[in-house]
Assembly symmetry: D2
Homo-oligomer: 361 residues x 4
């Protein structure tokens, strides 16, 4: 299998460079009969779009998605769904200086060594723009999951050093940060303004939650639900860590504290984050991801050029001072795609299973 495909039954294959004519994807394995339209996909794409606040990239990206196949008379046919987004704003000239230089902490150096050449315009294939197709494909998954009572939502739980407690889902879509506490927003904005003046950047932590899951999703021993989810989240540009439930806090926990006991009324806690033995328990599936600070900053950095000579590099152009600010819809998309794939996989093997044991939530 090639690296541009995610999933085994519900698959997404993407293509497209940040400065090429278009981005596209093929989504295969979608069940037939699902109501689907471009408007639904566009909604999720718009959540992700830069230019919605002064804290994100000023590159204008209309990102209008077209559905080219797999939908007829408003519902999916079960055949492959082709998606396309034409690139309308590219401004190649911003990048001509970078042709022979490796921007420090970017993928330039590694792509060069892997392929022997690289598309040096912007981030090429390593650009964050390629995530637009993940969000579009994830929107299809979300639509179907919704018909099964499953809901996937995320929020920013930390911006740089500022930890953010969850207050409400309603707050999340009301600000550019996907911050779940409206009272923290001015503080976050002030922090970002100072950062921009420093010409620097910072990381972020995102929390994604899926509710309404049935128990039973996950394919031990290697394709555990949490393992596939970790794969999907770690594949997002700039992610350096993934946790399920308590994550690294579990290291110092005692077994007597960490375990989620069960009663007829339900689970008493959710340290596990919704996964037991690699299979969903029915509890909310909770994951956290750590995004590193972007390396596209205007503070000069030391690097080398393609001949090995030392150079100084300033990444001009239009950048996100905190890529984490845009990551929430992408993380939701990867969780939705993972769940969709596992829903179909579980169905394939276990249609005859009838369980009398009551299901806990």
């Amino acid at each position: 299998m090639s690296g541009n495909t995610f999933g085994k039954l519900f698959t997404v294959t993407t293509f497209g460079e940040s400065h090429g004519p278009a981005l596209g994807a093929i989504v295969d394995g979608c069940p037939p009969g699902l109501a689907l339209s471009e408007a639904e996909l566009q909604r999720d794409l718009d959540r992700r779009r830069p230019g919605t606040s002064r804290h994100t990239t000023q590159r204008r990206e209309p990102d209008q998605v077209r559905i080219l196949s797999g939908v007829f008379e408003g519902v999916t046919t079960g055949t492959a769904i082709g998606l396309l987004i034409e690139n309308t704003d590219q401004r190649s000239k911003d990048y001509s200086e970078i042709k022979d230089r490796f921007r420090p902490a970017h993928a330039d150096y590694t792509y060069h060594h892997k392929y022997g050449l690289r598309d040096y315009r912007g981030g090429g294939r390593s650009s964050a723009r390629e995530t637009a197709m993940r969000v579009a494909a994830g929107a299809i998954a979300k639509q179907y999951l919704a018909t099964q009572g499953i809901r996937v939502r995320g929020y920013m739980s930390q911006l740089g050093p500022l930890e953010i407690d969850f207050k409400s889902w309603a707050a999340v879509d009301d600000n550019a940060f996907f911050c779940p506490d409206p009272e923290r927003v001015p503080e976050l904005e002030a922090f970002m303004d100072r950062l921009r003046r420093d010409q620097d950047s910072v990381g972020a932590k995102i929390t994604v939650v899926a509710e309404g899951l049935p128990p039973g999703l996950g394919e031990p021993v290697f394709d555990r639900l949490d393992a596939d989810l970790a794969h999907g989240l770690m594949s997002i540009n700039a992610v350096k860590g993934v946790e399920i439930g308590d994550g690294f806090a579990a290291v110092a926990s005692r077994g007597s504290e960490h375990r989620d006991e069960m009663t007829p009324e339900g689970f008493l806690s959710n340290h596990a984050g919704g996964v037991l033995g690699g299979i969903s328990s029915g509890q909310p599936l909770i994951a956290h991801l750590a995004l590193k600070p972007t390396s596209s900053i205007t503070i000069p950095g030391r690097s080398i050029d393609v001949r090995g000579n030392p150079v100084e590099v300033i990444t001009k152009g239009r950048h996100d001072p905190c890529v984490g600010i845009r990551a929430t819809p992408i993380a939701e998309a990867m969780m939705a795609l993972t769940l969709m794939d596992h829903l179909l996989r579980h169905r394939a093997q276990n249609p005859d299973v009838h369980v009398d044991t009551p299901m806990l939530r």
Copy 2:
């Protein structure tokens, strides 16, 4: 693809329950001509074996591995390699009480809901014993990687609340903890003795490192090296978090601090942990994993039985008070398997690549 296979070109498919007659695996895609013998696999298995210290499980597991195919006159033939370990010590009677009960925080409840039935003896397929085959397969990968100058090693970097700094690789194999600092060992032993008296358990953090990697391994955008590695590590029983390089510490970092600058003499730091844009940079590949405290403890816990009635459960039998103590060889194996798979994948697509740019370390 089924859940019992890991990898795409260098694949491992495993089978076997903790209380079944045998564990086995098929390793496919191994290049021909690699010197291989059962002794090499046995060495890695013995590192993992319980009973080597008073801090790990008292279940006796000789774990003698046989190579049944794919090796002729001492070298691999390029055909599928069959591995088998017969189970000699099972003691079913320890588990008969558990037939209709779900041990809290074990996979009993989720396996029951997924399959409608479960092998209740011990952990069945969810048992930690299944990792024996991962270690055996990982040993084959390690052998081949060694011929390419690549070395994979791990150590315990935290036991419960006790953080352990790295001192030397030589220390790691000299104690039962895989602790890289001999002076800390008495403290760890005392801690474990207290834990056993408390009838409780604790988590651990393991660090795994690969050195000697070429740049260029990884298949963007979804099968990034770090994404596949996260998948492999998260698939290990009890793992709740995975970090690459700085991991969650990157959240509060500044871009100007986090980025690893380059000079003709080499990289100036390794916050990235050896991966840039999902591709290896040639720097050491560094990952950390968080293991939760085992839920198999003798302190009673509240749970339900298969009819939904409340019960109290004590998990008798022989258990590891800290599964993390045995995890280091397993984590090394998963990293070796991931690297092996990516080495073959990179070769497949990029044999004609000649890069004049000097490679940094």
Copy 3:
């Protein structure tokens, strides 16, 4: 994916050389709750076993299969099923002459060039014995298909130049040829006796039929049911051609004759062989396969050795003068495995489909 795995959801991975200690397989993706025992698998293996008549190999192969995992209290658990057959009769010394020579029209030459070395004992991995595991795995598939009302059976439709018309299924298992017409058996036996005296061999044609299929199996556009079936059948040693329904006879047909018209009472013919647009129609699925004459004959043949010098080769040892005589159970197994895989794939994507249109047979 490696070459030793067949299927995508219901997968079989095999290992084992004809002169190694054992053959084995892992079957993954089997639904839980299927009644399964070694006796059922053994029954199909015994049908395939040489030594049951004077027309097949005299090598004694007890072929006792063991189920090592995935079955508990007589039913499948949904986890990976490990199968093992120990090799008890190998007689290496028959093959020592062949170490440096390539037997003409065997895989020796090609394996040598692919891997740079080969296990020269018998056929190594290219031996027909490896099909024992296919039959064992196919038996599991047949068991499950039977619970869905699907039945897979095959017969010999041509032996060398002798074309055999179908008379009855009852006849098929009553002779060593899987011949569906008892009156032809003496003629076939006489033909084979003459062949053995000539020290030569001949080919065969096998016909396999699946009945009771639902319409809807197959995954266009590439994983059509007939395409996957052709893959499975062509992967059998010695197969040189595969037909579905009318096969090559369709070339000279007219559209008005070939098409299978439909009435409320059912289809009026089955030229298509049960597949339309790559999807099962509900009619019997009919495939034919052509097996070449075995090249393991005692008539000397010209060849070269590993240094490129001309040699004459006589393949001594015990051989089948017509490998096609044993192929029927293997062809049935490959059809069963293909159908099983497609049944699960169809289920994964189409559980919500309710079709009011009556189904034709």
Copy 4:
């Protein structure tokens, strides 16, 4: 894995219906550094285009392909290649009658039962137009194979009852039939004219040949080169049979006649068709495919509608009276894609293999 992807390392994923806005594909795994342009792809597409003779469909299909990613400054970058063909001529109104009826021997009935609904316009996803993307992707494969000295070409070897002997490759591209003997062309044209007057259709046999192959391609035991090739060819619309080398003629052959003996000067024959034990021998790879007569004819046929009532169906619109006439480029494409995939797979596992044994041709 979904049904719209072909290949494992060099993969093609396609989408698009005959009456949708566009057809597209993503080709992944292409080595970097290959010179590629839209002109090269267009050339192969033009060979396939209807309207080039009075014997093929009169539907006008400009089929202009665009490369949307994966190529930079005239060479492939190693990242995913997106291809797009906008549909410009669809004429939906030809098909409105067919909404509730199943055209006999078309995929209407099976798609309806599989998905519960279907895009009834033209052939939808089951249309022969979807093969345009196969040809475009195959053109990329052909380009790369050419750099390795491998050439793939095909021709029509039988039209209905008329068997055609091979005379020259030069002749093949000089007529609309891909007929390798210019002297037969008037006869074929007359035959087709009569067929059109009869309002009927006929089948065809195509022969595809690959020359310049190295020995060693193929991945036993399931992904043999011939098995994967059979899969690819059988996945072409209307194919009912596949042969390698002598194919079904091998059934009546003797082993002493069929085997291809070897001398230091080379093989003495090629009954095997270039494959031994599932691996290429270095000899020309020869495959034949049987195409059924198209069922889209104007002679009325009996069928049923979606409620199960008997109806009479005439498929109006513009059709190919012999789909085989257009199949040659598609068969070449599938062979090229299969070889490309196997070339990469062989490279992945066997880079260290040095074989001193001379290679025969």
